[in-house]
């Protein structure tokens, strides 16, 4: 089925619409989707949004053109630069409203793992490592994104807790007392999901155009909260798509997913 936009472009639009004017957002590694979402938000409804390239330290990068690596020198064509030390300080302090996370595993309560599959001492699969994922305990909220919506990614329980989500669900995070607000949204290549307020279980909000509920169920390793009916993720508007392609003339988002 031919769509006039790519999945990653749609995901960037979802990210953009989830951001509010005046917020401070922090992106990490492999950040093509979140940074283009941030820039798109600035160019539409959130001109006073600030976004930080967590790798290079560029603040409000021009993204013309978008680059594949989060630490590319091009991202320093920006309004200001922060050092990594300063970014870590801001994130630890809780001065980041929106943090972008992800993982090789994401569980039903939004905990994220970038370290290992199987026991840490003898892993079946060794991931790259956690980078800044622990900032999920401090940030105002976390948007989780992944282009690999599969049962290997979406597991009942993470094998290593790189970034704390809602822990065991329910009130467990609130009782543990991390200052930040926890994951608010999961943007995947199949759907947009959030967390049911009572149980803090992953819940489908919308299915991307052309995706069936059965496919999302099949590609998730645990039962999802499924409203009925489930709306469709609104496609990029012509203006959103035009702006995205101006940011990304090389078509990185079209090749990504």
């Amino acid at each position: 089925m031919a769509r006039p936009f790519s999945t990653a472009e749609l995901m960037a639009c979802v990210v953009s619409r989830a951001l509010r004017d005046g917020e401070v957002a922090l992106t990490g590694a492999v950040n093509m989707i979140p940074v283009s979402g941030c820039r798109l938000a600035q160019l539409t409804h959130a001109p006073s949004l600030t976004f930080i390239h967590g790798g290079s330290g560029g603040v409000n990068s021009q993204l013309a053109p978008l680059t594949a690596s989060s630490c590319d020198a091009e991202s320093l064509r920006a309004e200001a630069r922060l050092s990594l030390q300063e970014i870590v300080a801001l994130a630890c302090r809780g001065r980041v409203d929106v943090f972008f996370g992800g993982g090789i595993q994401i569980d039903q309560h939004g905990n994220c793992n970038m370290v290992c599959v199987g026991p840490w001492h003898a892993p079946r699969f060794r991931g790259p490592g956690s980078l800044g994922l622990p900032y999920t305990s401090q940030a105002g909220r976390t948007i989780i994104y992944t282009t690999a919506h599969t049962p290997r990614t979406f597991v009942p329980r993470v094998d290593f807790m790189s970034g704390v989500g809602y822990l065991d669900g329910g009130a467990s995070r609130a009782q543990a007392g991390p200052p930040g607000g926890g994951p608010s949204l999961v943007v995947s290549n199949l759907a947009v999901l959030d967390f049911e307020p009572e149980t803090r279980r992953l819940r489908v909000c919308s299915l991307h155009p052309g995706v069936e509920a059965a496919e999302v169920k099949r590609q998730t390793g645990f039962p999802l909260v499924m409203p009925d009916p489930i709306p469709s993720t609104p496609a990029p508007t012509p203006m959103e798509l035009r702006l995205l392609r101006r940011l990304d003339p090389r078509g990185l988002l079209r090749r990504l997913a």
Partner: protein
């Protein structure tokens, strides 16, 4: 009486590495992802087959760590990430851990900066803010994470143990003969690494006059912080040198495509062990014209 002249820090690369990278040391390597990796120094460590007690990466390790691990020189790695970002996983790191031979001191990014800051200050540790979700790291790595009580409030917080690298290997774009360096792009965790380490060996794309360093702008660090300076044109290749040249994506992809130890050993022979000096290295990766095509100035012509 003749006035003594100011001492140059410039050394041949083999001598700088032999003198300051001691067998079994805690070695910190600069750069982040596929940018500003001190690859010329790392290739020299491999040529001299210097065993590394603990390898520490900055904000995110990549080829800098994977190459040393693959060469069989690393006993232990203190890291929050070894990978190739958007290009994929680090094959030798992954294999080393999965096979069980490579020990990991599992840390997070904030740890790297806190531990180096503690090291730089001469403090034994640096506390995390309250509520920071690093309990899982403490479970698997109690050597580096412990609970401490805030003596002022009685509150319990996590502490990051100080990191004091025996030697840091770092790249700058420009340096003068006395070690005054200009960093034209991001410094990542390199600045903290330099301040925390007992010694730092600095490689630079070019050794230029003090005036040229001043005129280049960028972020400067003073020469007294560096034990030795090495001229290494295209010394970050195949990673980028911010402001000078881009990372060589095709070369990195070929590296990631190497199958098995045999192909990796062949890579080492062709690109690390055989080439004597920058010109020979340039020939091994496609020649000077290829390297020139990676220059930043060419980027906008896409």
């Amino acid at each position: 009486m003749k006035r003594p002249s100011r001492q140059s820090k410039v050394l041949p690369i083999a001598e700088a590495v032999r003198q300051f990278v001691r067998p079994g040391a805690l070695v910190a390597v600069g750069g982040m992802h596929m940018h500003n990796n001190p690859m010329a120094l790392i290739r020299e460590v491999i040529r001299q087959r210097i065993p590394i007690g603990t390898l520490m990466t900055g904000g995110a390790g990549g080829l800098n760590a994977d190459l040393l691990i693959g060469a069989g020189l690393v006993a232990e790695v203190l890291t929050c990430y070894v990978g190739f970002e958007y290009l994929g996983l680090a094959p030798r790191f992954r294999q080393g851990v999965e096979a069980g031979g490579l020990r990991v001191r599992e840390v997070d990014e904030a740890f790297v900066l806190l531990a180096l800051r503690a090291g730089a200050h001469g403090s034994p540790f640096m506390p995390y803010p309250a509520g920071m979700g690093v309990q899982e790291f403490a479970r698997v790595n109690p050597r580096d994470y412990q609970r401490v009580t805030d003596p002022f409030t009685g509150e319990q917080v996590w502490a990051a143990r100080a990191a004091v690298p025996d030697v840091a290997l770092v790249h700058a774009q420009l340096v003068d003969p006395f070690g005054n360096a200009a960093f034209l792009g991001s410094l990542f965790a390199d600045r903290e690494m330099i301040l925390a380490a007992r010694h730092t060996v600095l490689q630079a794309d070019a050794v230029v006059s003090p005036l040229a360093v001043r005129r280049a702008g960028g972020t400067g660090l003073p020469g007294f912080l560096f034990a030795a300076v090495v001229e290494a044109p295209y010394g970050c290749h195949p990673t980028s040198s911010h402001g000078r040249y881009l990372h060589d994506e095709a070369h990195l992809q070929a590296y990631l495509g190497l199958k098995g130890q045999e192909e990796f050993e062949a890579y080492l022979k062709v690109h690390v062990l055989d080439p004597e000096g920058p010109a020979a290295y340039a020939r091994s990766v496609g020649g000077r014209r290829h390297l020139a095509s990676l220059r930043e100035a060419g980027r906008r012509r896409r």
